[in-house]
Structure formats: structure tokens, C-alpha cells
């Protein structure tokens, strides 16, 4: 049942993994958003194999970035744990459901997801979250953040919404090989009171577990193509470590607007792919 994998040189794949890992970590998206379209549209990789390779590179990116975020204290580990209950289940279900979808359906679903992500990104490009007053008790799922020399306190709100979003993010991750951060980070920061840096770091911390819940399913189906997945994951490791550090210095607003446009255009292009 496997479609043929075209011959692609390992150094090219490592470079693509590094570039998509860097941009993904810089924007807090995970590299899969750019990796899957590049592999399928530019290199002719069958979409199932591209999604599986992307899941592996998401695990590499998230695990490497999480070490940096943990050492800076930016991960809300308890909040992450609570939400992982939903994402890991979503990841497992998405991984199992992916087998039932045709190639055409996967392309369309991917295209719609990319376009929706682009719109969300453009709408939120200039946002900063509201941060509560220092006297407030952070509660079981809140905490503290120091940014620009000032310490803030935050509380987690609307946990049912956060759980439902995490479940959807897990399913998207399992179906399409994306991290799901693009769903969780805007909801956590806009509606659930979590500062964006914490939301992004906590989402990255969870993503490794989410992707792993479905990666074993892809592995057992033989969709994790050996040289392909290995090369992009290898590239994603240094790429994401550079990207996560660059996010301190880069003015994200204009970059996010450009990327939002790219996501919408790539989504349209993917929707036009004619495959059975």
C-alpha cells in the first residue's frame, strides 16, 4: 500500500529539517507546518510519509526546545500536565484515524488547517497578553514570569476551554503531523490568562508527548520512512535550538504577518493537489 519514496539526497533533507525547525521554533509553531508542504509539493514525497517524518521532527524540535525553556523556568509544568491528559488522548485518536482518510482528504484537511492558522496568526500578530497584578495569588495552575526586569503573576482561567482546545490540538497533531501549538498558544494566552511566553513554552513541553502518542502508531504502520525521517529530524535538532534562542531578539510582528500570508498561500496550493 505504500507509495514510492523519491530519491532525495540526505544533506538536502537535513538542510530542510534545519530550516523548517528554525522557523518553527522561532514562531513557536513547530516545523511541521512548513515541512509537510515542502516535502509533498516541492519534492514529491507521499503525504503520509511526509506527515510521519514531520511527527518525528516535531518530537526532535519540541524535546530540544523544552530543555532551553525548562532551564529558563518558562514551562508551567503542572498546567502542561493537566492539558497533556487531553492532548495525548487526541494524539492517539488522531494517529489511529489518519489511516481511515484518503490522500486527497489529508491534503484538503491540511490545506484548511494551514489557512486557518494563517488567519489566526495575522489576527494576533501585534497582541500582547494582559498580565495580572502582583498581589494576586497564582493558584494551583498559575505562576510567575519575569520579563524586561519586571515580575508578573498570572492565574489560569477557563480550564474547560483549554482542555477542549488541547484535545483538538492533539487530534490535529496525530492526523497531520503538526505540533498543535498554533491552536493552544492563542487560546491559552487570549482566553485563559497565560502569558504568551509561558503559553508557548508550556505548549512546546506538551508537544513531545502529544506527537509521541501518535508516532508509535505511524511507526507500526511502517510510515516512518527511514532515511527521510532520520535526516529531517537530525536537521531539526540544531535548527530548533537556534530558533528558540533567536525568538528573544527577533521582532516577531512583521515576520508573523509574512508567515501568515505564506501559510494561506501554501494552504491554497495544497488544496489544488489532485490525488486520489
Amino acid at each position: 500500500m505504500h507509495e514510492a519514496l523519491p530519491e532525495i539526497s540526505a544533506p538536502l533533507l537535513v538542510t530542510i529539517g534545519a530550516a523548517t525547525g528554525l522557523v518553527g521554533a522561532l514562531l513557536g509553531l513547530g516545523g511541521g507546518v512548513f515541512l509537510v508542504p515542502l516535502l509533498t509539493l516541492a519534492l514529491g514525497v507521499p503525504i503520509r510519509l511526509a506527515i510521519a517524518a514531520s511527527l518525528v521532527s516535531v518530537i526532535a524540535t519540541a524535546s530540544a526546545s523544552a530543555t532551553v525553556n525548562l532551564s529558563r523556568g518558562l514551562v508551567n509544568v503542572r498546567l502542561g500536565l493537566a492539558l497533556e491528559v487531553a492532548t495525548s488522548f487526541g494524539g492517539l485518536a488522531g494517529g489511529l484515524a489518519a489511516a481511515a482518510l484518503s490522500t486527497r482528504q489529508l491534503f484538503v484537511l491540511f490545506a484548511v488547517t494551514l489557512a486557518a492558522m494563517g488567519v489566526v496568526m495575522a489576527a494576533r500578530a501585534g497582541r500582547r497578553n494582559v498580565i495580572a497584578d502582583l498581589e494576586v495569588d497564582p493558584g494551583r495552575l498559575g505562576g510567575y514570569l519575569t520579563e524586561g526586569g519586571t515580575t508578573y503573576v498570572y492565574r489560569a482561567k477557563r480550564m474547560p476551554l483549554a482542555m477542549v482546545t488541547s484535545l483538538a490540538a492533539g487530534a490535529v497533531s496525530g492526523l497531520l503531523g503538526l505540533g498543535g501549538g498554533i491552536l493552544k498558544v492563542p487560546v491559552l494566552s487570549s482566553f485563559c490568562g497565560i502569558p504568551i511566553r509561558i503559553a508557548s513554552a508550556t505548549s512546546t513541553f506538551m508537544i513531545g508527548v502529544t506527537a509521541t502518542a501518535s508516532a508509535f502508531i505511524y511507526w507500526s504502520r511502517g510510515d516512518i520512512a527511514m532515511p527521510l525521517a532520520a535526516a529531517v529530524a537530525l536537521g531539526a535538532l540544531p535548527g530548533s535550538l537556534i530558533g528558540v534562542r533567536l525568538s528573544d531578539y527577533v521582532q516577531a510582528r512583521s515576520l508573523k504577518l509574512v508567515m501568515a500570508l505564506v501559510l494561506v498561500l501554501v494552504g491554497l496550493r495544497m488544496a489544488m493537489v489532485q490525488q486520489p
Partner: protein
Amino acid sequence: MKASGDNQGLEPGLARALEVALASGVALSGALLLAGLATDRAGLLRAGLLLLLFTPVARVIVLTVGLFHQKDWGFALVSLWILLVLLSSISIGSLLG
């Protein structure tokens, strides 16, 4: 802008243990993948990929043990639940495979 925090009150030793688990999984699997690609040996690539897949599992094990050790029972049980979901994914995978 640089930002920092306290990992929401997580004990620094446990945060450090999570970091070490993730960093060693990533470093070792990266080395295996690099060696596998350089020498064109499928066995090394397979080992590197499996190790990468097990890195988040190791992170969950470290967190579960750490939370039980701190007697943070509620979150320890949540962490154990997540470990069970991952283990069921592995066993469903091996049933399919």
C-alpha cells in the same frame, strides 16, 4: 526580550532532571542518526529514531517519579495517567505492526 520564570514552582532539582532526560535523549539519538546517515546503516537509523520516540516517554517517567517523590499526589497521578496513554499507544502500535 529575555524572559524567565520558576516553571510554576516545580522543584529546581526535578526541572533539572527533566532537562537532563530530554537533552540526553536528543543528543544520543542525534548522534545515532548522524552516524547512521554517514555510514548508510539502517540499524543505526532505526535505533536513533526509536530513541527519539522514547525521549518524551523518558521525560514523563522522570516527572511521574519526581512528583510521587515530592508527595504531590494529584499531579503524580495525572502524570502516571499520561504515561499509561503513551504505553497504550506503544502496545496498540505493536498490535498493528
